[in-house]
Every structure is written in C-alpha cells, then in structure tokens.
Symmetry: C2
Subunit: 296 residues, 2 copies
C-alpha cells in the first residue's frame, strides 16, 4: 500500500505536494475544535496497515500539540503500521539545558513526548547549537534536511555581488554552509541579548565590502529583533539595503512588516512555515528525506 | 515539609485559597510564553522532596496542555516527592468512545497523558455518563468532588419554591443528587441534538408546577444552547424566569450573555472555572479531598 500523508490544520498544501512527489495518498480527515476548545479528529481514510506520515510544522507548538499527539494516538489506535512526523519547523529547540535554577528543560520534555508518539521524525535545519545531533534529544530515528543548498541557489540567482552576514555566532553554521555552497564571502557579527525583544549587534566593517549587497541570514526570524538590529547596523554603515533570509519565518506579532520598515530590501524564507515571504521551496528535499525514512 | 501548591496561569486565586485552608505553601513560579508561542517555566521555590499539587482547571485544555505537562515534568525533574493534579474542571470527558468509524478517542488519549505525568488527580463532577468511574479512564488514583450538596444549599437559600429541571437524560445524575440533598422535586426533559450548537428540548408540563420557580441545572454550560433552549421552553409555557445553574461555566463565545438575554433570571456557577457567575464556592470541598489524597 502507498504511504498515507495526514495534514494537521495549516499543512495541507505541503502534505499534498509531498504526497504527489512520492506517489503517495493524502488522508481525508476532519480535524477541528469544538466550541469549548477541545479537539475533534476523525480519519475518513482507512489507516489499517498503512505507513502514515503526519505533516505538522510546529511554529505554534502549544496550540497544535494536542491535535498532533491525538492524531498520532489515533493512527496507532486505528492500526497504522508506522507513524512518522514531518515537522519542517521543529519547536522547543532553545531550552535544551537549565540556564537558571528551577527552569523547565522544555527541549527534553517535548522531545520525549514526540519520541513516545512517533516512530520517526524529520525536520529542516533545527536550532541545534549545544547539541550536535537530534539524537541527543530524540530517541526515535530522525533526519535533518539542510536548506543551505537551496538558499545558495536562490542567492546566486537573485542577488548581485552578495556578502553573507550572520548576526551572531549561533547563525554561523547556517551562514558558513550557504557560503561554502555558493562560494561566497561571509561575515559573522556579535550579538548581545538583554531580553526577549532587546538585542544589540556589532562588528561590521563597511570598507571591506564596497559595492556588495549584504544578505543577512539566520535560521529563525521570530520577533525579527536580531535581524532588524543587523539591518540598522548595515544601513548606518552606508551599505545597500540588505536582503534578509530566514530558513524559518516564525514572524511573531508584526515582525515581517517591522523588518521591511527597518529597511530590508526583501525578506525571503523557506516554505517550512507557510507565509507570503516563502521564496525558497524545500519540498523536493523533504520528499527525498521522507523516502529514505519510509524505506528503512 | 508542607505540601506545595503550583498554580498554572489563571489558577492562582484558587491555589492560594486551597493552600491557605490546608496550611500549605504556594510556589513562586514564572510561567509565560516567549514571543514565538513556546512556553517558559521556572520554579523559584525549591521542589526537592516536596509533595506538589498542581492546580489547573482545564476549560481551555489545548491551550494549557503543554504548560501543564511541562510543569509536571519539571517538578519530577527537580526532585518533587509526588505530583498531584487538581483540575476542578476536567477536560476531554465527552469523546470516550468511537461514535463514528475513524474517530480519535480523545478521552482515552488525554487520560493516558495525564496518568503518565501525575501521581494522582482530582476534579469536581466530571462529565461521566458511559463510564461510572474515573478509574475506567485514569490509571492513577483519582477522586471526584461532588458539588451537589453546595448547590442544594445555594438553591434552598436563594430560590422560593424551586423545581429543579434537567434539560436531558445526561443531566439527571446531577439534578437527582441536588434534589435528594435539598429534598426538592425535579423534572428531566428530553433533548435532541443535531449539531454542536443546535438542540431541541421537550417534555415540560407547566400545570404540575404552578407558582414554582424553575431551576435549570446541568453539569457544563458551554455554548449554553441546551440551557437557552430549556429557558425558552419554560418561558413559552408561562413559567417564571428560570434560575440557571451550571457546575462548570465554560461559556464558549458569548454564551453567558446569550443565556441572560434568553430570559434566565440569574446564572450561577461553581468556582471550578473563574467567572463572574461564580456563586457557589467549592474550595472547602476541594481542600478536604486534597487532604485525603496527600495522606495516602
């Protein structure tokens, strides 16, 4: 039997594209909330003996967690042979240790819940920096899809004389990968964070990059404070309006508009989280990775 | 060491009242959401060796589930001796079997998650009707607090010549308990439901209840459609404006206003879910039950 894709709310477009490129089916489901806020799920496609792939990007993890865990439990309950999770954006990758006494280590608790519910999982460029591999958190087989190649192609095709800029040391792994792939120069700045929405960036030297277009790159654009601060540093240093690329456009509140208003020439993201800024398509990369997970 | 109460957001008033009546402490915590929607939790009171009681009413179960499970995991992680859950309103008690093929049996999945995270739990009058006891769903020790006595006292003190009215057969267990406790007559009507917000109620005979004040009683007021339909049936039959009592006032959307506009004389609920209609205090009953759970 063909693999069966299940789309959580908001993920139907990607699930359909993935199923189409893998000659798989998409399940007909009814997933909704009762007026009192409880979730209801019904699978109108038979699951017995099927290899199920649940597609659910996790940019709103708390809102989607219960439907997601219920979907996995129901697939198990209804006889699925295996249940995988495709979470193009993986949540809860920041609090991976106890920075202050008494803190909940949510990365570990969340990965335990996911590992219990699914047989395998994959995601695009998770926010790994203290741990080198997902295996340090997830006990199920997992795979990481890297968007660097796709981003490199996009930059090479769309930006004249680019220099890649990473706002902070955490961004270096992504910036360096794209720079290597596209054979481009890059600069990593220094960031000091003093609150959820309060950051300062330093270390830019314009004289080295006359006539270059700065391409600011980070894995996640959430409040966009880091990227806005970086754009402002570059503009104050008389650089051309920067192109801003986020692998994952979470865009808390009005972050997307704020970033454009701050002077970004263009904001581009991968389609790991559906958004009008999606300019880089990772569907083919995801499909390839899913195929290898389904074969094992 | 004294038991330690932990309040999830929205539950501090009840947690404080419970701790006060049990000579227990309330933990100092920081539970909030990052701008990207992920939860952050920190316990500023030491948990090592403590018997922890987490207070979290579950009228918005999906929104609160992740903070709740993370809180339990963190308490375990930080060395709590035991972790109980006080959920005055317990969620996911409706979908306790597969009514249509392919449905997720969310009652069972949710109770499994709760049973894994906590050592014991208690709640006020859960929506049990197919199962007689919580043990059929929950594998941890549990206790049910019945509000019927408190409701009976309230009705006897506040309503002249009352007749209790249950809108449907599911309500009979609660209506009969209050009627017995207060030595009052009661009538159970018949309900036909054709959608989440679409119900019809029948079976009222006014001639038997001249000069009585109808007191409509149900366990949960959610959309209030059932209670509004009942109020309309009573008013069309020339009864006095009914008093409406819900053990749990979930009040989806504008349900509370809608019910008053439909002609209810007064809407009264227990304080299992904080709301302006809370007129019946179950704190003392809850405290008594918690004391027995902590002793075992």
């Amino acid at each position: 039997m063909k693999p069966l894709f299940v789309a959580l709310p908001g993920n139907m477009e990607l699930a359909t594209a993935l199923a189409s490129s893998l000659d798989a089916e998409v399940a007909t489901t009814n997933i909704r909330q009762f007026p009192d806020g409880e979730s209801y799920l019904r699978f109108d496609t038979a699951l017995e003996g099927r290899d199920v792939v649940i597609v659910c990007t996790l940019n709103r993890p708390d809102a989607l967690a219960m439907p997601l865990f219920f979907a996995a439990d129901a697939c198990r309950d209804l006889g699925a042979a295996s249940i995988g999770l495709v979470a193009p954006y993986l949540a809860y990758m920041r609090q991976d240790e106890r920075f202050q006494p008494g803190e909940a280590v949510t990365s570990r608790y969340f990965s335990t819940m996911i590992s219990r519910a699914f047989d395998w999982m994959l995601c695009v460029d998770p926010h790994l920096h203290r741990f080198a591999r997902l295996d340090a958190l997830y006990s199920i087989p997992s795979q990481i899809v890297h968007a660097s190649e796709s981003i490199a192609v996009w930059v090479a095709s769309n930006v004249v004389n680019p220099v890649l800029v990473g706002p902070d040391s955490e961004s270096e792994q992504w910036v360096a990968a794209v720079a290597t792939s596209a054979d481009l120069p890059y600069v990593i700045l220094e960031k000091v964070r003093s609150g959820d929405r309060d950051v300062a960036v330093s270390g830019w030297q314009s004289q080295n990059w006359v006539n270059h277009t700065p391409v600011v790159l980070d894995d996640i654009i959430s409040t966009a404070r880091t990227m806005i601060e970086t754009v402002e540093v570059l503009l104050r240093a008389d650089m051309a309006a920067p192109v801003c690329i986020g692998i994952h456009g979470v865009f808390a509140d009005n972050a997307h508009d704020d970033l454009l208003r701050a002077g970004a020439q263009q904001v581009v993201t991968c389609n790991t989280i559906p958004h009008m800024s999606n300019g880089i398509d990772v569907t083919a990369l995801l499909a390839g990775a899913i195929a290898t997970m389904l074969r094992t």
